[in-house]
Symmetry: D2
Subunit: 350 residues, 4 copies
């Protein structure tokens, strides 16, 4: 597979990429004979075993095809319909899933908190909980906190930041969910173990993404506290997300977790983003909106620069969220498949 065949590399998102070769090979290899359906196949069983090794703990995992499904299912188990979830105002669950979490939770509220650089803080979370408690029966009480790693602004929570939020959550008997749509990118950045960035930092439930990092359509909901997962399997089925031929989801995820493919892919994306940001900053008038800590670059581009790039057919996205409704704000996303030459071509066009 080579991007050259598809024309210019596209920086609009990491989900415009093709499937990486190792994962496509795994799909093809899974296509042998009859196996049990609805998750009773050998690959799905092996996947759970592999996850226990990767995360060094017991867990419950179900594979699904999209990140929206993973997030919505996870939150629906944690939060009753009369409850609420604290998240960043800019969280994908709050702005980009067309109300999927509210649908799955049966109408529970997302309370979007101001989150500079896409990150919740222990203080903002604590204040929001105090306000809800003061509201009593009139307020939808928080049952979960959802944070995104790496964040929607391409930043990464440190382990201390995660731990301080989790501590507030634990004190208030509130669960912590991590939207790991770009989990591997955050993990590579922190350089710690999967366990350290998740359950050892107080994360109870994880949406584990692979699609943006090389898979075809494969994510997981992972409960580290198995007792909390009651109802997950039934919700999975009734949402229409249980595949009859589930081996083809599990095959992707097993390949993803083999020979550190997930970390290698994310490593390439992160390095590419830093290289791209450094290059863009050399252009007069360009400034970064956020520090580049994973695989996304948010910039203000002078109007002539963005026009030039558009004319040359380069893919990148206008970025207008929340209070940022600036015509010159843009997002560039790098992926496992971005090459130095792709970035150089882009910079030369700017």
């Amino acid at each position: 597979m080579s991007d050259d065949q598809g024309g210019e590399h596209n920086f609009a998102s990491d989900n415009v990429s093709a499937v990486c070769p190792e994962i496509m090979a795994a799909i093809v290899n899974a296509n042998v004979g009859s196996v049990g359906s609805y998750g009773s196949d050998p690959l799905t069983a092996r996947l759970t075993e592999r996850l226990k090794e990767v995360f060094e703990t017991d867990l419950v995992a179900i594979p699904v095809a999209t990140g929206t499904a993973a997030n919505a299912l996870a939150l629906s188990v944690l939060t009753p319909p009369y409850g609420s979830v604290l998240c960043a105002e800019s969280a994908h669950i709050n702005t980009d899933e067309c109300g999927a979490p509210e649908f799955y939770m049966g109408g529970a509220k997302l309370l979007g908190l101001p989150a500079p650089a896409g990150k919740l803080s222990a203080d903002s979370v604590e204040l929001a909980i105090a306000q809800a408690r003061a509201g009593g029966l009139q307020s939808a009480q928080p049952h979960a906190i959802s944070l995104t790693q790496s964040t929607e602004w391409g930043t990464v929570y440190s382990r201390q930041e995660l731990a301080s939020i989790s501590a507030i959550a634990a004190k208030n008997d509130i669960a912590v969910h991590m939207d790991g749509s770009r989990l591997a990118n955050g993990l590579v950045r922190l350089g710690c173990s999967p366990a350290e960035m998740t359950w050892k930092s107080g994360i109870d439930v994880l949406s584990f993404g692979a699609t943006k990092n090389g898979a075809m359509a494969a994510e997981m909901v992972i409960f580290f506290d198995c007792d909390r997962a009651a109802g997950l399997a039934a919700r999975h089925k009734r949402a229409g997300h249980l595949w009859s031929k589930s081996r083809f989801l599990s095959a992707q995820l097993l390949a993803y977790l083999t020979d550190d493919l997930w970390l290698r892919n994310a490593g390439n994306a992160n390095v590419s983003a830093t290289y791209l940001a450094e290059g863009l900053l050399k252009i007069e008038g360009v400034c970064l909106l956020q520090p580049v800590e994973a695989n996304e670059v948010f910039v203000i581009l002078p109007e002539p620069v963005s026009t030039r790039l558009r004319h040359r057919g380069l893919g990148f996205a206008a970025w207008r969220r929340g209070n940022l409704f600036n015509q010159n704000a843009f997002r560039f996303v790098t992926s496992y498949s971005t090459r130095t030459s792709d970035i150089d071509r882009l910079l030369n066009s700017a």
Copy 2:
């Protein structure tokens, strides 16, 4: 009925009041013989006729016992589960109904917008619509705007303000809902006709409140655009809000609309609030958080003053919402039953 029998007048809310005598008499008078159930009684028929006179237009109305039910039913007809509703961050539907609108709408989102003095502006509404449109399929698209008259901060939209918001709504094919939990207070303030403050100002659907202004438990959902009301009756029934003995809701509302009772009651409440505010402002260190335009007074009280009032058993409410989490902010609400002597006693205690 005299508040003296119940001890000190309570300024915590207008819903701590008793039922006003005219309305209680109407309930007692309705209790004669068998009549059709589930809305097929003569009083309910008469109520609809009376409403058409009051609002000078055709309309569809259903009576319910609570304002939360009225709001949630109204919004559920206007907004599909995959849509959203624009409202003030401080709106009662967003902060004080424990997620009722989300429940009734099947998970549609409330998008709380910054609203100084509790009021949406045409600009903020227009920006929010533009952002949602830009978000495409990822964003829950706005199908309704909900505004409160008088607002949660005791202020009142002018007719021009209503018209400018409605114009944006109409241009974008979005319905406008008015939460009229304290409708009469706003109407008395504006001094215009019910028609002028509602459908002539572009309001499509109204929650018409009576409970806070002298009824026992009586509100209405009123659709001025009858075609838009499809499904309202079925939603009413399946929410458990259709009374079998519906005459006892309609009797309250008929009395409320007889001999201007609703306007007289609200007039007393509004005058009382102004009188109370003027008195409080004479105390050193007291300042108003909002202009007093209806029957609510939001103030900062010096700590010794609030302590003195509490010690003397006076009822009023600590007020902590949104970014206002000040220990010294309080709300006083006046009602149809507040008397000058009640306010004087309070001021003398301060």
Copy 3:
């Protein structure tokens, strides 16, 4: 209050009646001064204490205005959205509430079982559970059984029948809900204590009705297992069923439970039904569809008889449910206010 003022007595339902005098007096008497709102008033506190005496046990109770609300709230606490509820095919929750339980439960299924005479049997319940268990993840698993006392066919479960169903439920860790819209009628029939017919017979949650038996609009959800009631208060609020002036619901229910008013009212209704049935059976061609055990009489009337009664303006209801779609099937309901003379007039007209 006298039905004579309202013209002919109406046998169409027990909810066409007026409010009985004792309850109306209690409403009027509750209308004194300011009291706490949203359930924090003294009458609501006293109601819970009275209920503990009546049922001889600790319990959690909330008052609501309609039976549909009581049923839907009760079931929503017992059953997750991915579960199911076993009930009679003819159950009011299944046929006459326009989907309220499904709404409140967030889409859980009602599985209507064949129920001769309106009664579930231990056998039919056991089979349905076995089928669901066999269906595994594909089947919505039963989390509650709902039975109606007295039933929709005017019959009454014996204590043995209740106990045998509850035993199956307990064995399968399934809760039992009793729809007591006409609870007092069933209780009078059995002649046992309220405790014996409910929690001592394995009932976990009760919808306790008063509206059909003399109240204006007053029912309760009662949890005998207090631990199971988590979330009830929040669901109550977000459904819009928490009255701000809640004292007026509690006043009705306190009066209802004072001096055996509820049992005296139901006693009159039951005796009247038996008297009516005996009279109707003397008419040639009339036959009963069900034994008369409470306050409802289901009959086949020869066409000339029903026509005669209709022409004379008498109120009664055509009855077409399930497989019974017979033009000559009718329901007559007696109430607390039915008098011997009302029945004699009806029989003389037939």
Copy 4:
């Protein structure tokens, strides 16, 4: 791909099969370069064009990964939360999707009607509508009829049967949905055109299945009445069923519709089922529960026969549904990959 590699052929379901080679090749071939995400890729555009040719009409189609998702999405567009759907008691949507339709519809009811051989009849549909209409506001009114082609009992509606049900629907302004999880099997049986079996027979909305007939995970919701599809795209997204890399769904479906692959695959499955049934009937004591018209065989097997087959490791399913709770009832399903030799081996083992 050969089943031999996977051991004995498995007759438990058609979804235990591998992906057929043409479809797997299409997936691999789609994996080239960057393309637009979320349905904006060229393959998805081409798919819609191809469907218009196949069905000889304009239409709106969205691809999803599971049949449960297709059914639930389709019904959620047709039926408001306060409505109901008429279907066979034995319908997959009613018995095997863990409440998915109720979830997506926001709590609307499925009314399961007795359906001999898995088929609704015009008469039973008409009676159910009349009953609901008679119930008025208390009844959840039917907004859709859902029928399955081929049915859950392996039978096939004739075009006349479809037309007579659709006529009743049209007369009552009710939409008709076809669950075509095994659409190709029904189509091959009838030998008519896709248009004739669907919109020309009054079908408004189709769940078009491919997974059971050779795809990996690919189904579609197809609206023949484009105006009716409002909200479909938003519901698709918020259910988490919109793939970012949607090309991989569309590639499967395009291959499925190329060179009559879908009809050839179904043809093999149907012929195999007939051959299997004929063989089984030669065994003493075996009897068919339903005529074999598509790719499923429902039989009563004498206990020694079923035991022998189990011991030899052959896959087939115990079948216990509705009133059929017989230990000796079984289902055998054939697929695109079933070979004569597989069936002969099974018959020789019996």
